[in-house]
Subunit: 413 residues, 2 copies
């Protein structure tokens, strides 16, 4: 009888950690055969050509030179004011939307996604999301008892599937009065896809059309990979989220994990955009309440790093240079992978930036298994394989498509 | 109509930040009159006699010498294995309870309290807690729609009020099948009170008696201040939580905030103790699920610091020496305060350790207001005043009781 000591809503089987498992196998293979022989496409962080995680000097010099008192002390519950102001500027760049904008400090982008789902939907409401998605979204919906509804991400022309999105939206709003629409763009994980500006117009047209009286639509923009998705103009779409009807609200999950190579510092923000000041403030109040009720406040050093790098012109420049260098490294790797994919006839989903490129295929798990025999370790999901350009050198990106293509043909033909 | 965009369960007024407000006023007063003139009893961190936050060299040298790759990288979702093992040893010291013990990494002690309430109670269940408590408990119960039920902490002899505790427990179990009992001991915030070992026997006797078939009792031990509550023997009570019936479960909220002066690093753990291995594992699974659904993983550097300080004998010694030094500093300050309280006839609640001493009184807010005129800034709560021995020098601790006593007499007589 003791087994029911866990409340029903909180009973979950042990979280599968498929990535952790294959990553461990890969490490063993590297230890045995040497890193040059193995292609490690299991990681989700920027890795240099020698297999080491990239940690920006600008970021970690700032941390190491930080007064220890500023690391030790608590940040404010909602986040420190300077951080909250600057993170809005950093996120939107030249394209801040019109409206009332507030931000709340969160534990990475994860915390911002969590806050959005918690505050802007209720039990049983739908969270709609393309079928190529970051698995933590599903875990969050489980945890809070929201319905996680997936729709086909891309149409036959590899464009955002407006029709399937609309069907999911209509289905949700027919059943319930509120819905959260998750968009992980630009530079989607796991595909690298970005929704184009003209497509955003069409999406917003539909959302506005469906936002009848009594219906509430939350748009969650998870932009974790945005700094690796172009030279700044990829932020232009943000402007479209200004001046929307007040029963549509936009939140942006901003993460320092990728853009500052600060994964382990758990720093980020939820940025709230509303055309109504009171609503923006009330969502802020709700999320501040959540902060106190979960983690109290976030890593102070993380907030300080962002502030220090923004306020010192020299540091800012060196950070931006470093980011640019690694963004271009990533572009080169991705180019090597996609060009060679074309050469060997390996179908990949359109890549516009970010850490991953996806290969749609059946039997993805079998294929990933077989690829181990070819010394390639790669993450399989329901819809295909996730190739980690963030973690594989340009040289290996060149040779990988052929290896993958051969195994797919072997298994699926 | 847009205002209902927030789901009903998540609507909260802006969190009052009374401490932040008075702390700001105090800072202004210091800027104007000089720090020597002002008694700042508003802070909740260890502060040296010069008014600066204490950040252990052993901790921050470890951080500053840490390979930046180990700071940048993600920790495991549930926490890194070495950390999870060592945190159990660190927490229990020589007094590990008998049974199956698992730990989950959490964002500070806050995260562990959150996980306990979330996993081990359901909507509408009672969380029972003495009426001198850390306000975040109440915020968490609000957030998750649990009933936060307070009982009179101490009886007329200033001993733990077993009768009132029992009444609250019985009330809760009459209404519902599960209950969470929060104990912030040893070195309670805000009182410094510790429940004695013999009293724990009585409490556990009652809990065991009430744990009938079909009832589930969770015991949450929030031990945030434990390292400042004695020389190790204060941990003896932990052994009592071994071999309990399997429908009683114990969780320990372990925080690195105070014991490592690592407030801003948001590192801690929820330690699960059960006499049934499967239950311990299932609670772990539930909390790992929560981790993924909230913050993904916690600050990697925090976990690494604990591991580094445990594994290097020299570093460990220097950390322990530093902790000892400041524990004694705190003891001296507290002694100065309590001795002088006795001298002037100021009633204080029994103090056994920790960061605060409480003065029960009516009209606490008025008194705190009046004390500002005497250049003392102090936090008022419903039941009295919270004097921060963590933040006030020994010299000032000596003179403070008289100042407080005079104002209490002035206002209340």
């Amino acid at each position: 009888m003791g087994k029911n000591i866990i409340a029903d809503h909180a009973k979950w089987p042990r979280l599968e950690d498929a990535i952790f498992k294959i990553s461990g196998e890969c490490k063993k293979a590297i230890a045995k055969k040497g890193k040059d022989k193995i292609i490690n496409s299991t990681l989700g962080t920027l890795i240099d050509d020698d297999g080491n995680i990239i940690a920006f000097d600008s970021v970690y010099d700032t941390l190491k030179n930080m007064d220890k008192k500023d690391i030790a002390s608590y940040g404010a519950i909602e986040g420190d004011k300077e951080f909250l102001d600057l993170v809005i500027e950093k996120c939107f760049g030249a394209y801040k939307p019109n409206g009332f904008i507030k931000s709340v400090a969160t534990a990475g982008g994860s915390g911002a996604v969590r806050h959005t789902i918690w505050t802007l939907s209720g039990v049983g409401d739908y969270v709609i999301c393309p079928n190529w998605y970051w698995p933590a979204y599903a875990t969050m919906c489980e945890e809070y008892n929201r319905e996680f509804l997936n729709y086909e991400f891309l149409d036959e022309n590899f464009e955002f599937n407006l029709k399937e999105f609309t069907k999911a939206l209509d289905f949700s709003l027919e059943k319930k009065d509120r819905v959260v629409c998750v968009f992980n763009s630009p530079a989607n994980n796991p595909t690298g896809f970005s929704i184009e500006d003209s497509m955003w117009d069409k999406i917003l047209e539909i959302i506005k059309d469906r936002a009848d009286d009594g219906k509430y639509i939350a748009i969650l923009l998870d932009v974790a990979y945005i700094e690796f998705a172009g030279d700044g103009r990829q932020k232009k779409f943000f402007q479209k989220f200004g001046d929307l009807p007040e029963n549509i609200i936009t939140t942006v999950a901003y993460s320092m994990s990728k853009s500052y190579t600060a994964y382990g510092l758990r720093s980020g923000a939820c940025i709230i955009v509303s055309s109504n000041e009171e609503i923006a403030n009330q969502v802020f109040d709700s999320m501040k309440h959540s902060n106190r009720a979960i983690w109290s406040n976030i890593t102070h050093a993380g907030m300080n790093i962002l502030v220090d790098l923004e306020k010192d012109e020299k540091k800012k420049k060196s950070y931006e240079k470093e980011l640019e260098f690694y963004r271009i490294m990533l572009e080169k790797r991705a180019k090597a992978f996609t060009e060679n994919s074309k050469k060997v006839g390996l179908v990949t989903l359109p890549y516009f930036g970010g850490f991953f490129i996806s290969i749609p295929c059946k039997n993805s798990k079998k294929i990933a298994e077989k690829l181990k025999e070819k010394d390639m370790y790669i993450v399989a999901n329901k819809e295909g394989l996730r190739f980690a350009v963030c973690a594989v050198s340009e040289e290996k990106c060149k040779i990988s498509p052929k290896i993958i293509k051969e195994v797919i043909d072997e298994i699926n033909n």
